[in-house]
């Protein structure tokens, strides 16, 4: 029996696609797939592979008469010996450690509130998502005025709330505050995205679980701790990972508001890369930074995969 059914299979497989569907259809399929494949090859795969090669050369931005030299791992060695690179890596780490609790925490709390039956729930949800669709450049204009020293709105609020015990803060000009100021601005801009991801996650938890918990005598707190939190585990992983990756790519806010200053306190990996490649014209060196950035993002994404597999099935 099994021999009879397996016989036709290899035969069918050997028939070429053209014999199966004919030339017109074959060409049409190629024609429909080709634009995407070619464009991705030209603008995604090629630059990606090229970055590994360029990273090992002294390629300048503008072509020079002297030929491009292969320098091996020299660029990487110079990066790893550059204190400013380590500062930038430490800065984005610092930024990540701040933004995770501030942004994801706020998003989580807001989602918890909006997940209840409160009046105008959808209006609030739409409102809270508004900054997430606002361009970062516009956000920088808005927060540029909020951060004014010493008489900006934020300083007025700080001074008023502290009853005058806290002096006005030079938000973007003080090396101790600049990164935290960028955290505030970035969290304000992006938290709406995390909020709707959390909301979707919460709505994915079946009501029956809450009913069952209620029958078992679980109070509000018990239901939160034993139903909501376990149900949100994959959402937590996703939100934390996506926020971490975003944080490591921090650039626009820095380029517009602080240019990495004051005293390199807001220098980031991407800003460091753009400065090397664009302003100092050392494309080879900048490509080496971009390879390092890719490896960082890859590691974070692989960690996410591992964690997702463990929680999901």
């Amino acid at each position: 029996m099994s021999a009879l059914t397996t016989v036709p299979k290899p035969k069918r497989r050997r028939r070429s696609i053209i014999a199966r569907v004919g030339w017109p259809r074959f060409l049409q399929e190629i024609g429909m797939l080709a634009p995407a494949v070619l464009l991705m090859t030209a603008f995604l795969i090629t630059p990606f592979l090229l970055s590994f090669w360029t990273a090992m050369t002294n390629q300048p931005l503008v072509p020079r008469p002297t030929p491009v030299r292969f320098v091996g791992l020299n660029n990487f060695l110079r990066i790893l010996n550059d204190d400013l690179f380590w500062t930038s890596l430490w800065n984005v780490t610092r930024f990540t450690l701040w933004i995770l609790p501030v942004q994801c925490g706020l998003a989580f709390l807001t989602a918890l509130i909006l997940n209840q039956k409160i009046p105008f729930r959808n209006v609030f949800r739409g409102m809270f998502f508004l900054p997430a669709i606002t361009s970062m450049v516009v956000v920088c204009v808005i927060w540029g005025t909020l951060f004014q020293y010493p008489t900006g709105p934020l300083n007025h609020i700080v001074v008023a709330l502290s009853g005058g015990t806290i002096q006005p803060i030079d938000w973007l000009g003080d090396p101790n505050w600049a990164m935290f100021s960028l955290v505030l601005l970035s969290a304000w801009q992006a938290y709406g995205f995390q909020m709707i991801i959390y909301l979707a996650g919460m709505q994915g938890i079946p009501d029956e679980l809450y009913d069952a918990a209620r029958i078992d005598g679980a109070g509000r707190w018990g239901r939160f701790w034993h139903v909501t939190m376990p149900g949100l585990r994959p959402t937590h992983v996703f939100v934390l990972v996506i926020t971490t990756i975003q944080a490591f790519k921090l650039y626009t806010q820095v380029a517009i508001l602080t240019q990495g200053g004051p005293k390199s306190s807001t220098e980031t990996v991407v800003h460091y890369m753009v400065r090397a490649g664009f302003e100092e014209q050392k494309l080879g060196y900048a490509s080496a930074v971009s390879v390092i950035l890719f490896l960082i993002v890859l590691v974070i994404a692989l960690v996410q995969r591992r964690l997702m597999r463990r929680f999901d099935v």
Binding site: Q28, M32, L39, F43, F48, I118, I133, V137, T151, S290
Partner: protein, 292 residues
Amino acid sequence: MSDLALSSRKPAATLNGYRIVQSISVFVIALVVISPLFMLFIASLKDDRFQILADMGSFRAFWVDNPTFNNFREVGNFAGELAFGRYLGNSLLILGSTVSLGLVINSMAGFILAWGSLPGRALILSVIIALYVIPQESIIMPLLIIVSRAGLSDTFTAQILPFVASPLYTFLFYQFFAQLPKELYEAASIDGASIFRTWWSIFMPLSLPALATVSILMGIETWNQYLWPILITQTDYARPISVAIATFFGQDSIFWDRAMAASVLMMIPILVFYLAFQRWFISSFVGSAVKG
């Protein structure tokens, strides 16, 4: 334990305290989220940039005595300095071309991957999924070499073509097409429709949710591009509005009045779409995330 019996009394008492905390927090969050945006719109109607900063410290930030469109008139030129009319037009052109080309190209590819008969589709699909991990920031330096060697510096093409085909959007289309019923495809091929016809006349009209999701995600992404256009544009010719607004920050004393008006110009198109299609926006962003 006797929760059911007590339920008529106990929750009613706790509910009020809880409700109050809830309402206060929603109100505070709404204030924090909305007031900066509201302030932006109000400030763009004030003519005096020093007055804007002076008003910031008080409730006058939310009020304008003599609203004027002077700032908009100042920045709304189409040539010369402060040509934000032109920059806005550039951005809209880049947005329109990228999204419309992107919809066609990514959906065609997604359709072939889902319903075509080419060998190696599974391999292409897994390569595309793997490509999704590469962040734009990490390919931007070599991309700069490729695009400038191709003679595309300072062009619209350089801001459109590299971002038309995207692993994420091809995958989203693939995912959407693959879950449509097989009968749809079979009926079309029995009727003798070519694969192109099947995609265009049968599957595309049924794909409004996918088309909306991709348009919205792609639109926001294109509209907010900053790093790439700063590297690739040198003149006003193809400069998008995001890059132009950022130049306000390069000056010694920032013209906040003009910066505010230009920002409002940049916000309006997105805001109009958002207010009209809010539900779609939110579900699109959720949809982009479920991938994992």
